[in-house]
Each structure stands twice: as C-alpha cells, then as structure tokens.
C-alpha cells in the first residue's frame, strides 16, 4: 500500500477517531445505545484498518500476539472477577449492589466494569482472529 497516499493519509486521520468512538460506545453504553461487544469490535476495527494499510508486521508491533492473548484472558477474568467481589461482601455471585454506596450506584459500577471486560476480550479476540487469518502461510 506504499503508493496509495490517499489511503494512507485517510487511514491515519481516521484511526484515532475510530478508537475514540470505540471508547465512547464503551463508556457511554450505560446511558445510550452501545456496550462492550460493539465497542470491542469498533476498537479492533482501528487496529485491523492499520494492519490493512500499513502491513501485518507493523500491526503486530502495535499489538504483539502475546499481549493480545493476555488481553483476551484478562477481559474474561475481569468479568468473572467482578462477579466474585460481592460474594466477599455478603451478596450473591454477580449481585453488584454492594459495590457502591447505594444499590443503584453499585449496579452501575458493576455493569461498567463487566462491560469493560467484555470490550477488552472482544477487541483482543477480533484482532487475534484477523492476525491468524492474515498470517496464514507466512508464519509457518
């Protein structure tokens, strides 16, 4: 893609906004449409666009395979871990109410964290799947 100047410049302009929009969908998800899954996909799209325009090798420097693998697990761990915390505070698994001062704020904090876990795992998984397919026949 070295010769496609328009594509490269357009991608460079777009990528930060795609990421920002991903974060918006992530953290605004509890007030409007959105949530972890959509946000994760949008965020991963930024990295995938980067890989398409600037090459797989450069993209792998941005998101090393090992880090991506770790993030996939970390998101699940965050989701499951947030559910465990209330068990130490005398509530049932996944009952976020005791996490905040009031029941409402507790549920809010819980959902925010859980959705963040979803976002991390979905973004990392999308990137991993793309790298896996794009890297076929190169790595082996």
């Amino acid at each position: 893609m070295k010769h496609h100047r328009v594509l490269r410049i357009a991608a460079k302009l777009l990528i930060p906004f795609i990421m920002l929009f991903g974060l918006y969908v992530q953290f605004h998800g509890d007030f409007g449409p959105g949530g972890g899954f959509q946000a994760g996909v949008i965020f991963a799209a930024a990295i995938i666009l980067y890989a398409l325009i600037f090459g797989l090798e450069n993209a792998r420097k941005v998101a090393p395979t090992r880090i991506v693998t770790m993030l996939i697990s970390a998101g699940v761990l965050l989701f499951a871990g947030v559910g465990v915390v209330p068990m130490f505070l005398g509530a049932n698994y996944l009952d976020y109410s005791p996490l905040g001062a009031t029941q409402q704020s507790g549920q809010h904090i819980g959902i925010l964290l859980v959705e963040f876990g979803v976002g991390i795992t979905v973004a990392a998984t999308m990137i991993a799947i793309f790298f896996q397919f794009a890297g076929r026949g190169r790595d082996e």
């Binding site: 090992r66 697990s73 699940v76 761990l77 465990v84 049932n92 698994y93 996944l94 009952d95």
Partner: protein
C-alpha cells in the same frame, strides 16, 4: 459463610481458572492450577450432595440476587447433584492422568491452552447440569461444545481436524435446534426458568408451538447425546482426540446431554405430555434399541480400538435412552445408574488406551498384540473395565443392566429383556478381541519392546477401574440416589 455460595462456586471456580491457565504461558503451572480447581470442584459437588441429602429438597441460588423466575436460578436437586458428582469426579481423575499424556501428545507451546480449554469444558458441563434456566443451558452447552471442538482438534493426527469440524457442524445443528425449541417455548410461556416453564406449560399444552418446540428440543438434544442415527459425529471425535480428552468427554459430555433430556422431558414437558399425549416413548425406544445392536455390531469390526470404544458408547447410550423411554420408576433408576456407571467404564477404558498410546504410539489392534506381557497392569485394567462394560456380576455394569432387565420385566416387555441379554455377548466379542490380541498373540515384528505405563497415569486409571468394581458391590451411593432421582422425575419430589 461459604456454604450458601457452593452452587455458584461449582461453576465459577473452573471458569476463573480458564483465563488464568492461559496467562501462565506454562504447561506445568497451568496443569497445577487446573488440577487444583478440578479437585476443588469435585469437593464442592460432594459437599452439595451432602447438603441436598440433608435438606431433602432442592437448593436454589439466585445469580445476581435476581429472584427466580426472572433471574437465572441455579437449582441443585438429587438428580443433577448426582450428575455433578460424576462429571467433576471424572474431570479431576482424568486431569491427574493428563499430565504425562499431554506432555507426549500436545506441542509445548500449546499445553497451557489445552488446560484452559479443559477447565472451560468442565465449566460448561457443570453449568449445564446445575442451572435451572433453559437459556442458560444453551449458553453452557456452547461453552462446553466450543472447548470440546478445540480439544479434539489438538489431536496429533491431521484427521483430528476433520473430526473436530464434523462435530462442530453437527453439534451446532443440535444446539440450534435446542435454541429454536427454547425460543418457541419462551414465545408461548414468557419464561425460561425450568420450574416455571413446567407450571406454565400445563395451561398451553394444546398449542401447536409447544409441540413444535418439543420436537426441536428432543431432536437437538438427541444429536448432542449421539442417539442412533444422530451419532455420526461421535466415533471420529473420540478416536482422533488426544487420549486425555477422549477419556474425559467420552465419560462426561454425552452423559450431561442425557441429563438435559431427562430434565426437559420429565421436569419441563412432564410425563403426561411426553408419554401420554405425545408418542415420545416409541420415538426414543426404537432408535435406542437399534443403537444397542448396531453400535455393538459395528464395534466388533473396528481396527482402531478407540473407535471401537466410541461405537460401544453409541450402544451404551442406547441402554440409557431405553431406560428413559420406558418412563417407569425402575427404568429411570436404571437409566440414571447407567449414566453414572458408564462414565466409570468408559473413563477407565479410554485411560487404559491412553496408557498404551503413550508407550507404543498407536491403538490399532495389530500393534497391541502381545502388549499384556509388557504392560500387565494396564491390560489388567482393560480386562476389569471390559468386564464391567459387558455387565459381568460384581462390576458396575451388571448393576445397571440388572435394573434395566427388571424394568422391562415389570412392564411385561419380556422380548426387550431377552434383547438386552442378547446384546451382552456382542460386548463380550469386541472386548474379547482386544484381550485375545493383547494376551495370546505374539508381539508383532518391528515393534520396539516397551515398559509399563508411568505410575502417574496408571494410578488414575486404576482409581477408575477399581471404582467399577466398588460400585458393582457397594451400590448404596448409586442405586439409592438414582432411585431418589427417578422419584423426583416422576413425582416431583424424592
């Protein structure tokens, strides 16, 4: 403090262990973690069994504090605690066995992923069993299935990939059918909680949507439990998976699907609907009976012994479904006991084959000739577990067949009793083929002399082998609890 949370911990502990296993990036550490968690899961299921027996009624747990039927409810009664017990026990024992086997069969950079998938599969199976929510069953069904596809694909031969893909396609069809059925039920009743569904279905039984839902759910689960002729995914999946995976899924995955079938047919649709208004008894009876004979006959002609045992599983599932289709107290007792006992037999037999594969790198019958002289303990394990598979007295297999024959006679179905007795010699033939090759034939030319399997593999194998003998003599745990479970299924309490 921890006791009320046991139903959640049963599933959450292995769930949390799975990502941690990935994060270790080290096969040995991941194994240790998985081992710890699987034994903890076993301890939890034992504690739950004691709790349920002491309470005499189901224990319920409201996930997220949302009361049922709105929230997801975990509901532990005598039937599913019994299934939890066998699944977690097999999961724990096979994991002990897995270390050396995985070291040999899985590439070092994938071992931690293997253990992550293993505990995830355990999570799924335990989740299906413990949950009281129809949609939650689907979610856990997918968790266990997806991890099983990955586990099977890790087999050493390239054919493992096609076997996994075949299972993926058929397993997905099964899960989709189940989901369509649940969707229709939700449309008619507006609820997903199993107990609530049962109560609400009583008013709308004549609705065509309920009948369609019933058909979809039954066929979907029949695919998952590999009822003849929907068993086509099973032989290759068991034959080409890594040894430890074969032992684990052969002993647990289809059993959990049988549990789902029992729960939905008896606990949700109800005996009167399924066996009175609709002809489910006949619909399941015929394929189950064919499975008993066809599975055994095909098993006789297999050269790959893992494949032979897989076909034998098809036959044994036939016995369980026979019990399910008769819908009497004794027949259900037989089905639930055989669910437990068959897990022990197949767990033990696949562990034995894993030991042999570890030493000679093959489970083909001609390669196994004369192996008993070099691996006497391993083959002795095969003989004992094989006797249990045939149903010889003093083994676990005898107990379940005994009750099944009794159930047939109670109903006056004496041709069925004769058929069950006639099927036993078929098992004898395929088990004898292996024994004859291993004990009486000379070692084939060109095979290197081998030693007995390592102790860390032999001990778990023999735990399962001895369990076959123990539960053939001391039946209070199995038969009494299965009897309670049968009463629960038929009358709603035990």
């Amino acid at each position: 403090m921890i006791a009320p949370h046991l139903p959640a911990l049963q599933v959450v502990l292995p769930l949390i262990a799975a990502p941690l296993c990935v994060l270790t990036f080290n096969g040995r550490l991941a194994w240790l973690l998985a081992l710890l968690v699987s034994w903890a899961a076993f301890a939890i299921s034992v504690a739950l069994l004691l709790q349920v027996l002491a309470a005499g009624e189901p224990i319920t747990y409201a996930l997220g504090g949302w009361p049922p039927p709105w929230g997801i409810e975990y509901r532990v009664d005598i039937l599913n605690v019994f299934v939890l017990l066998i699944v977690s026990a097999i999961g724990a024992v096979v994991l002990l066995y897995a270390y050396r086997s995985v070291e040999r069969e899985i590439a070092p950079d994938r071992q931690h992923l293997f253990y992550a998938m293993y505990v995830l599969c355990l999570t799924g199976l335990l989740g299906i069993t413990i949950t009281g929510d129809a949609f939650n069953i689907f979610v856990f069904l997918e968790i266990s299935s997806l991890s099983t596809y990955a586990l099977i694909a890790m087999g050493r031969r390239r054919k493992a990939l096609t076997a996994a893909f075949q299972y993926l396609i058929l397993g997905t069809i099964g899960a989709t059918f189940y989901l369509i059925g649940i969707g229709l039920l939700y449309m008619v009743t507006g609820t997903l909680n199993l107990v609530d569904l049962n109560q609400r279905l009583a008013d709308v039984q004549d609705a065509r949507a309920v009948l369609v839902a019933f058909s979809f759910v039954t066929v979907g689960i029949a695919l998952k439990l590999a009822l003849f002729p929907l068993h086509l995914w099973l032989p290759n999946a068991y034959a080409f998976a890594p040894s430890a995976v074969s032992a684990f899924i052969a002993a647990t995955a289809t059993k959990v699907s049988v549990y789902v079938m029992l729960r939905l047919v008896y606990g949700v649709f109800g005996v009167d609907f399924a066996f009175g208004a609709e002809p489910l008894g006949m619909v399941l009876f015929v394929p189950a009976l064919i499975a008993v004979f066809a599975g055994s006959l095909v098993a006789i002609f297999q050269i790959n012994i893992k494949r032979m045992l897989a076909y034998s599983s098809v036959a044994q599932i036939g016995y369980i479904v026979l019990g399910l289709s008769l819908a009497t107290q004794t027949a259900l007792l037989a089905a639930v006991v055989h669910l437990f006992n068959h897990a022990l037999m197949k767990g033990a037999l696949f562990c034995v084959l894993g030991c042999i594969f570890y030493r000679i790198g093959s489970v083909r019958i001609e390669q196994m000739a004369g192996i008993a002289r070099e691996m006497p303990w391993t083959m002795a394990g095969f003989v004992v577990a094989g006797l249990s598979l045939i149903g010889v007295p003093l083994t676990a297999g005898f107990i379940s067949k005994w009750y099944l024959v009794q159930a047939a006679l109670e109903q006056g179905y004496w041709p069925l009793a004769v058929a069950i007795l006639l099927a036993a010699p078929l098992a004898l033939i395929y088990v004898w083929r292996v024994i004859e090759a291993a004990y009486l034939q000379p070692v084939p030319a060109g095979r290197e002399p081998v030693r007995e399997a390592p102790l860390v593999m032999l001990i778990p194998t023999w735990i399962l082998v001895l369990a076959n003998v123990y539960f053939g003599i001391e039946t209070s745990l199995t038969v009494e609890n299965a009897n309670r479970a049968a009463a629960l299924l038929l009358h709603g309490s035990w």
